[in-house]
Symmetry: C2
Subunit: 716 residues, 2 copies
């Protein structure tokens, strides 16, 4: 049932809201609420008075069948006794006939009774109780919620959220996305809810709050959902003009114009550059110079003439040519004045390393700085950051150490400590990185700007972000939805267990714990969520190495039966599908493995097998087009030592790559310490491999699959 | 309400079961079922006919209040009209009075009516629907289940299991242990269920199936639980004499007598010892000799006179002195004959390395071997194993490589591959190990025997086990319950996601997925479950190093605010309690940290602080007796480099240890690659520290807490 936009009666809603505003009310009355949702085609339990059979039919059709008919007469008190009540009228004909029957019965019962008419009421004696609501989330704006109704679901908090407006597909994903979804499909012979009609109601409600953002919170609780309808039994609406406020947004063109100059600057000025070791202004200079940055570097220091063999300037105003980026290495209190000069110079980005702004409670100073920047068209990164790296330009605009392993992973962190962990892990794992960015207080540039730049950046294949909040979650989600179609977006959302201390003025509001809202909205917009810091880093490192799988069929080939069981567990944990091996393929595997080995999936080649058994089974897994991914479980034996295994796997995978066959291959290595070197060898050749764990390789493959699915890249 | 054992009417149950058996039935009729559970004091909806007020009161008291009274008279059809129905009678007095009122009303209504009496019915118009049931689990035997009733819970599978018989404490833990437990406590003004009465019903049902093990499955579904009662509305019972079978068990004394000889043998024979490199019989000999084992080593080989400078014997019968252990390195088919000789020699343990038994489908051979061993009083380890290590005796009775880092961790694995991963991880992490044991096919010696030995072993502080199944889960659970009071028992249960393909002949049976049963029973008997292989290994490595915490108050001290947030997330994930810092303690912390730092918890000392700030705050955390554990978040800066941090932490922790103050301290290090060395330094000194992860140190601390709680070692 497609929603017909023109069916929305905006004027009716406007009249109600104008009235409420005129009276200074923050909530609507029940009849007002009903009127508002009905104006958007949401059914409420209908009723009305008919004075003819035609009117009864018209009413019934407007209300929705089935209906109950009841005689309305001041002279008939015992309606049932009088034959004045008919229930379960499912067709227009039944209503028309029923109307006449009731009138006839009434007249027969009491010939002189004054008959006012027949009340037509929607019959609501069955159906699933669900809740549909909307809140105005401080991060995401208008958010629509769906869950089962009733106290049990309230206790279990089985509810799901999406950005409003939601389209039909999104609304259907909500209905299917709650833990108890099976209930709505009808279990133990119960009547199922009509998914399409319920989705339509979600679409309509989310359209309503989008059109009228002053509708701060709406509860339709319960909605009775049957196989033929969905009716909002109770409607509760809170209004608040502040709920209609929108955050300021730059256009993508504006973002890219600035970010391109910031990430690939022709020239960088260091405000507060210093020759003195231990000073931040010295570390930044050293990192720019030693990192190999080839653009112009301008030290700015009123008291120096030369720093690290570069001519120093008293003010950025004195620099002869244009400047793209100014890195601030001066105390917070000097930033406003310096930023005025930076702005006047036409700099694209001010990199505010200093702390002492919002994070220490100095919100005024931060606001002042943002205002100066906005006035000059300067974008600010920070304040309170370690700086940023962009390896394609050999740019290490940071007081940390340079990073030089180039590659496709772009990372950002909201915290300096986490930034250092990113740097250390990357260096230790030799992870190829395009960029590491500290966003700190996010007074201006935030993850949304970074996503937009990294999307356009040919040097970036994957974006991994640590964040504690989002300034404009809606914008981030919308950008992520687009970007993630081509590049995986991994997010570690910290603070996920601290439920928002939200004033629970509505039922939906009370259910909307921060993390559940983040989780549902990020995931439904293509973001892969990392459960922890180490996962963020391992996903970032592994996902770009794995080719995108062409389908869901995963096969485990293992030398250790025990690893096979644990790898299977990990597949289920990570939403991976162990392929049902067709009999011809089973037969083919059996040719290579001992008679007491187990074909099926896992393919258990058994311990003590020579390299050829691994090679043959892996080659079969790569060659058969019905298999889409391989998980290898290696068992260290004298017959096939770790490096022999690693080299044969690299060989056979390369052999197939040369033939144009690219499938994700991950490996778990069980054995003595030599498996560490073997795992490294595999990883260096694009096979995501770990020693002493069956969980990690499968988790990385699972993350790759989640991305491939949401990007629509998996085959049927 | 304590259960009065003598209140059980065993004879009544026996009569019903004898009748059913005589008729060859596998299920009881509804009245039989009702009779059986009533014999154990479980209420069913009671009713009966009273012909006097006294009888009515007696009936009501037997049935349970409140009751409904109804006139029984062939001459009164409209009972209500006649004043012949009274509902909600909550006291004996009300019943007595009510009886008379009804009789009087009836006589007044129709003086000549024939009055048969008054029907006394239990009033069951309210209450929570719950399910209580029992199944006969192939691993654990009699298992009792509890969950909410109704279709929603069936969909969400919110049900919990314990061994039967369950005591009152256990039964209460079940009621509190389901996800929807809050429902039973009464939400939104609903009447709560009476926990004690419900627990009593669980205790009674579990006693019933323990006394009558032929009761294969019992469903009480639903049980209506109110604030004053619990009534089994429907009773369904399946009977099966096979369900009464008990597995064979050795006594603890028998187990220890054998295991002590096996783990600390004075002499070891190697059946199939070989001088030829590459043979298993050669590897075993080398490992025994090179591992430094000081007992007698007897190579057995009909064709050799000397192997590795040890005199070889044609048969174990030829060995002059007694032999404690025989390691078999011969093909499976030769095992029975050799085992006869081994048995005749009075060997305590036969270590069956060879494969080719049950795991390849050769169950007959395995059964034959077990029968031979049982006949001779020999215990079998294996077959199909890598052997075993016991480092206090320098014993490496395995074809793998020797292991020599001695310590308190005992490990076992059901799979050879996982055993190799244990070995490699241990060596790589330099984990101090007392024993590593492969149990393989577990034809005889299993985890239960190992637990019993390790409990008594002064060299073992913690037991970590990989297992795919348990031969006798009940015995294991009972042993683990006892052992875990003094030594942590960590279990990685593989195959947890493959739900048992159980024939769902009862409701409870259908809900009893393998893993949920394992999970509930292992946890409720003190076992710490590791979610994955790496967790098993990290828990094993870390838990023994941490002192047992004296209470729940955990404090995070962090240099990086971002790490603090992630560490807090991890605390919630791991069930740890972030201490509410009292104001005097808050004040004390504030003295050491910058004004813009955050006291509270996490204590955010802010980045860029010198070593003294870490030292002072950590010392405060160790000295204040209200704080029980510390989690440190380190941020790599020039001011406090990684090794400076690591050394100061070790210093200050040692300082307090010297004063007798032992608290668990774990650390997450965020920084460049130098944090790896710093983490190792910390770990070597008993501070569980990891680089690049906030999750792992907290997970290990969380596991330590789970153990300390279940062992009853935490303070109030």
């Amino acid at each position: 049932m497609p929603v017909n936009d023109s069916s929305y009666d905006r004027e009716a809603v406007r009249r109600v809201l104008d009235q409420a505003r005129a009276e200074g009310r923050t909530s609507l009355t029940a009849p007002e609420g009903r009127l508002v949702v009905e104006a958007y085609g949401i059914s409420t339990p209908g009723e009305g008075l008919a004075t003819s059979a035609d009117e009864a039919v018209a009413l019934a059709e407007r209300i929705g069948l089935p209906v109950v008919l009841k005689i309305v007469s001041p002279d008939i008190l015992h309606k049932t006794e009088a034959g004045g009540v008919l229930v379960g009228l499912h067709t227009a004909e039944a209503v028309a006939t029923g109307y006449q029957t009731i009138i006839d019965n009434a007249r027969a019962y009491k010939a002189d009774a004054k008959i006012v008419g027949v009340q037509v009421q929607q019959q609501l004696d069955s159906g699933h109780e669900v809740i549909v609501g909307t809140v105005t989330d401080q991060t995401f704006g208008k958010v629509v919620a769906f869950g089962l109704g009733g106290v049990l679901v309230e206790v279990l908090k089985d509810v799901t959220f999406r950005l409003a407006p939601a389209d039909t597909e999104t609304a259907l994903s909500m209905i299917d996305g709650i833990a108890a979804a099976e209930i709505l499909r009808g279990v133990r012979g119960a009547e199922p809810a009509n998914r399409e009609i319920l989705a339509d109601l979600i679409v309509r409600l989310s359209a309503l709050v989008t059109d009228f953002p002053e509708l701060a919170e709406v509860d339709l609780n319960p909605v009775l959902a049957t196989s033929t309808g969905a009716t909002a039994v109770d409607v509760r609406i809170l209004v608040d003009d502040n709920a209609a406020e929108q955050p300021y947004r730059f256009t993508d063109e504006e973002i890219l114009a600035s970010m391109n100059r910031i990430m690939r600057p022709a020239s960088v000025a260091v405000i507060g550059a210093s020759a003195e070791t231990g000073k931040i202004g010295n570390s930044v200079m050293k990192n720019l110079v030693n990192g190999g940055y080839q653009g112009e570097i301008y030290p700015i220091n009123p008291k120096a003439t030369e720093i690290l063999d570069r001519k120093a300037f008293k003010s950025i105003a004195d620099v002869p040519g244009p400047v793209d980026v100014a890195v601030f290495a001066i105390p917070a209190k000097f930033v406003p004045a310096a930023l005025e000069e930076v702005g006047a110079k036409g700099v694209a980005g001010a990199i505010l390393i200093p702390s002492g702004f919002g994070e220490t409670g100095n919100h005024e100073l931060q606001a002042e700085v943002v205002a100066i920047a906005r006035r000059h068209g300067v974008r600010i990164l920070g304040p309170n950051i370690y700086g940023y790296y962009y390896t394609p330009e050999n740019l290490s605009a940071t007081f940390c150490t340079p990073y030089d392993v180039k590659g496709g992973v772009a990372l950002s962190s909201q915290s300096g400590g986490i930034g250092m962990a990113i740097l250390g892990f990357s260096r230790s794992a030799q992870m190829g990185v395009s960029s590491i960015v500290g966003v700190g207080n996010k007074s201006d540039i935030d993850e949304d700007d970074l996503l937009t730049f990294f999307e356009s950046d040919p040097n970036t294949d994957l974006i991994a972000m640590h964040l504690e909040d989002l300034k404009d979650g809606r914008s981030f989600a919308e950008t992520a939805r687009r970007v993630s179609k081509t590049k995986p977006v991994i997010v570690l959302k910290a603070g996920r267990t601290s439920m928002g201390a939200r004033a629970a003025s509505s039922h939906t509001g009370a259910l909307a714990g921060d993390d559940k809202v983040y989780d549902d909205i990020l995931r439904s917009n293509g973001v892969i969520r990392a459960p922890g810091l180490n996962d963020l880093l391992e996903y970032a490192r592994g996902i770009p190495l794995l080719p995108t799988p062409q389908g869901e069929n995963v096969v485990i080939i293992t030398g250790a039966g025990g690893s096979g069981v644990l790898l299977s567990d990990a597949c289920v944990d990570n939403g991976l599908t162990l392929m049902e091996i067709p009999s011809d393929l089973d037969e083919a595997f059996r040719k290579f493995i001992p008679p007491f080995g187990a074909a099926g999936n896992p393919v258990d080649i058994t311990g003590g097998e020579p390299p050829a058994t691994y090679r043959n089974t892996i080659a079969l897994g790569l060659s058969d087009p019905r298999i889409h991914s391989l998980i290898l479980g290696y068992w260290h034996t004298i017959v096939t030592p770790p490096m022999v295994f690693a080299e044969l796997v690299v060989d056979v995978v390369n052999e197939f790559r040369a033939k144009g066959i690219h499938k994700p291959v991950v490996a778990s290595l069980a054995g003595d310490v030599e498996v560490e070197q073997a795992s490294e060898h595999l990883y260096r050749h694009g096979i995501v491999a770990y020693p002493y764990t069956t969980e990690k390789p499968v988790a990385v493959l699972g993350a790759k699959y989640r991305w491939a699915r949401s990007a629509g890249l998996l085959g049927d």
